[in-house]
């Protein structure tokens, strides 16, 4: 209850005070010759939830994927410009991508647990990234499952396969897995589009909690979800960042006609 109150109070504070966690300027990206992102400039505030909305193919997932270099594995994907997270240049060839992905967690549309036990799904990354004792591994697993609101549901079946969980539970397991490594930023690409409304509500409740510790960036096609969970919203269209502002302003009185047409459902 206390944390709920805090998060509601956070909602009313002047948001401009949050410094930028992710700084993107004059950023362009291509897939081979296809120019997917054009001159993106945005500062994503720390410990807030920022939603990216826009029609399919507008580049919002591409931008998200560059934030933890998932795009590296895609053939002929390249980017130019500035993309820093807490001051660190993400695009540099010297960037340790494995260390980066510990700092910048990602959750995908389709839950992707490892085909291992529930416990092992979380413990695996902890052992790989953090130098901690066996007992501490257990503590962190419990803490993350607890924070993800999953502990009570799985505490008696930690040795069972993660694939035995429901879709919503699997998704919360993936969020717990990311949280176990104490990331700075949590990226979410359509995290609820495969879930039912109850599982969706649980994830959204979790997102409200996450903003106390992490900077959350969420890509969603569900406009109502963006209005529910985000402090800030960015609208992208045809590879461009059209408008960025507080969600209150973006969903009540956007400045750009294209944003207005999109949020009111006038696409033709």
């Amino acid at each position: 209850m206390k944390s709920l109150q805090t998060s509601m109070e956070n909602n009313s504070v002047i948001r401009e005070k949050n410094p930028s966690a992710i700084h993107i300027s004059q950023f362009d990206a291509w897939y081979d010759r296809y120019h997917a992102l054009k001159n993106i400039n945005i500062d994503i505030p720390e410990k807030q939830v920022t939603a990216f909305i826009g029609p399919s193919g507008c580049g919002k997932s591409t931008l998200l994927r560059w934030m933890n270099r998932i795009n590296d594995s895609i053939f002929k994907a390249r980017a130019e410009g500035t993309l820093t997270i807490h001051g660190q240049d993400i695009l540099s060839t010297k960037t340790d991508v494995v260390a980066l992905r510990r700092r910048v967690g990602i959750v995908f549309q389709k839950p992707n647990p490892f085909p291992k036990s529930i416990f092992e799904n979380i413990a695996f990354g902890i052992r790989m990234h953090l130098n901690v004792s066996k007992k501490e591994v257990g503590d962190i697993v419990e803490w993350s499952l607890y924070k993800a609101g999953l502990w009570d549901e799985v505490k008696d079946r930690l040795k069972e396969s993660a694939l035995s969980l429901s879709g919503g539970q699997q998704q919360r397991l993936c969020i717990a897995r990311a949280m176990a490594l104490a990331p700075e930023v949590l990226l979410m690409d359509e995290p609820c589009s495969a879930l039912d409304p109850i599982a969706t509500a649980k994830i959204e409740d979790l997102i409200h909690q996450l903003r106390e510790r992490y900077t959350v960036v969420i890509v969603t096609h569900n406009m109502q979800q963006a209005t529910r969970v985000s402090d800030y919203t960015a609208f992208m269209y045809l590879g461009e960042m059209i408008e960025f502002g507080t969600s209150d302003q973006m969903f009540m009185s956007p400045n750009d006609q294209r944003t207005e047409d999109y949020i009111t459902g006038k696409f033709g």
Binding site: T227, F251, M252, T259, D261, T264, G265, K266, G268
Partner: protein, 364 residues
């Protein structure tokens, strides 16, 4: 031409709400015309018609509200669509109230039909015309989304207020001259009151339409208090409330502020109870005299504060702000309670002037 919604059913739903609202506005406009016509021409048939039409408007109110709630529940409108639904839902309430006021006018007209007429219509016609023009302008600005007329609506509303003040004084004079007309005059007063309140409702509607178009709410409560250099406190007799307010303001507000008090029917002297309770604070008002409004150098007044309901709301040129702090008359208390009644009112005034002092200081 702006784009339409991709979901054409949704487009049709929103348009239907707009059409219903516009039609309701037309209906209410007609009711104002008909109810005032019934009064001017003593046309009782028209008056009964107005009362019948009110059922229609009540039904519109419920049905449009239901349409709005349904579209919010099922479509979750955003941006200008949400503003449209909210603006209509709020404006419908104002339209419904205006229709109720038309009914009241019709009922007073029917009652007046049984009395000999009094000759008193000179300024009521232009007041009525102003109100009708306001409704028309407001509904047109809804259709065209052109809010440049909203300024005109505000001007018209101030004119309606001015007509009201003028008529009120005239009517008071008539009643003083001839006590037999009181029952007619109070009904005419009620009709004037109805018109004045209709003006306020139309102003509300025009503010909602401005919100629909611009996305920002009108600030109608506290206007910037800069440039206030003189304050006039008013109550009818200028013997207790406004005298205490003057004394307190002289002590609590900056010395550079010009402070006056007056009343439309000044008493012979300042109420002795007021002198006593002010003396308890070390403020001497014993030398003050009740004054007429015309005794005050009005050129130095920027703000008028009325302290009782009975005082006529005056329209003075050059006034930046008008406020009313409605306070009960301490002199009306029983003799044994009088002293504490005066202390109570004095302390309320002191608090309000302290609030005003920080407001004025904050705005500079």
């Amino acid at each position: 031409m702006t784009k339409i919604h991709t979901d054409r059913m949704y487009e049709a739903e929103l348009k239907h709400i707009c059409d219903r609202f516009a039609a309701m506005g037309k209906k209410v406009e007609g009711m104002i015309e008909l109810s005032t016509h019934s009064f001017f021409s003593n046309d009782l048939e028209a008056a009964y018609n107005v009362i019948r039409q009110d059922n229609d408007v009540d039904r519109d109110d419920i049905e449009i509200n239901t349409l709005c709630v349904n579209v919010i529940a099922r479509r979750q409108p955003l941006g200008p669509d949400l503003r449209l639904v909210m603006a209509i839902q709020k404006s419908v309430t104002d339209l419904e109230r205006i229709a109720d006021l038309c009914v009241s006018t019709a009922e007073r007209t029917i009652e007046l039909g049984q009395h000999a007429p009094i000759h008193f219509e000179t300024h009521l016609k232009p007041m009525t015309e102003s109100v009708i023009r306001m409704v028309h302008d407001a509904m047109t600005s809804f259709e065209t989304r052109d809010i440049t007329t909203s300024h005109r609506i505000h001007v018209q509303d101030r004119m309606v207020d001015a007509y009201y003040a003028q008529l009120f004084r005239q009517l008071l004079e008539l009643m003083r001259e001839d006590g037999k007309i009181v029952s007619q005059a109070t009904r005419i007063l009620s009709i004037m009151n109805n018109l004045e309140r209709m003006g306020d409702h139309v102003k509300n509607i025009s503010e909602k339409i401005a919100y629909l178009v611009t996305g920002t709410f009108a600030h109608h409560k506290t206007k910037p208090s800069q440039h206030i250099r003189g304050i006039l406190f008013l109550c009818v007799q200028n013997s207790a409330r406004s005298q205490m307010a003057e004394g307190l303001a002289r002590t609590l507000l900056p010395a550079s502020m010009n402070i006056f008090s007056a009343g439309s029917a000044p008493a012979g002297k300042v109420n002795p109870n007021a002198v006593v309770v002010m003396d308890e604070l070390g403020i001497d008002i014993s030398a003050n005299q009740p004054k007429r409004i015309t005794d005050v150098p009005l050129g130095k007044v920027d703000m008028v504060i009325t302290l009782c309901t009975e005082e006529v709301c005056v329209n003075l040129p050059g006034i930046i702000q008008k406020r009313s702090w409605i306070l009960p008359d301490p002199a009306a208390a029983k003799e044994a309670d009088k002293h504490s009644a005066f202390i109570g009112i004095r302390d309320v005034i002191r608090e309000k002037i302290n609030g005003l002092a920080s407001e004025l200081a904050g705005s500079e």
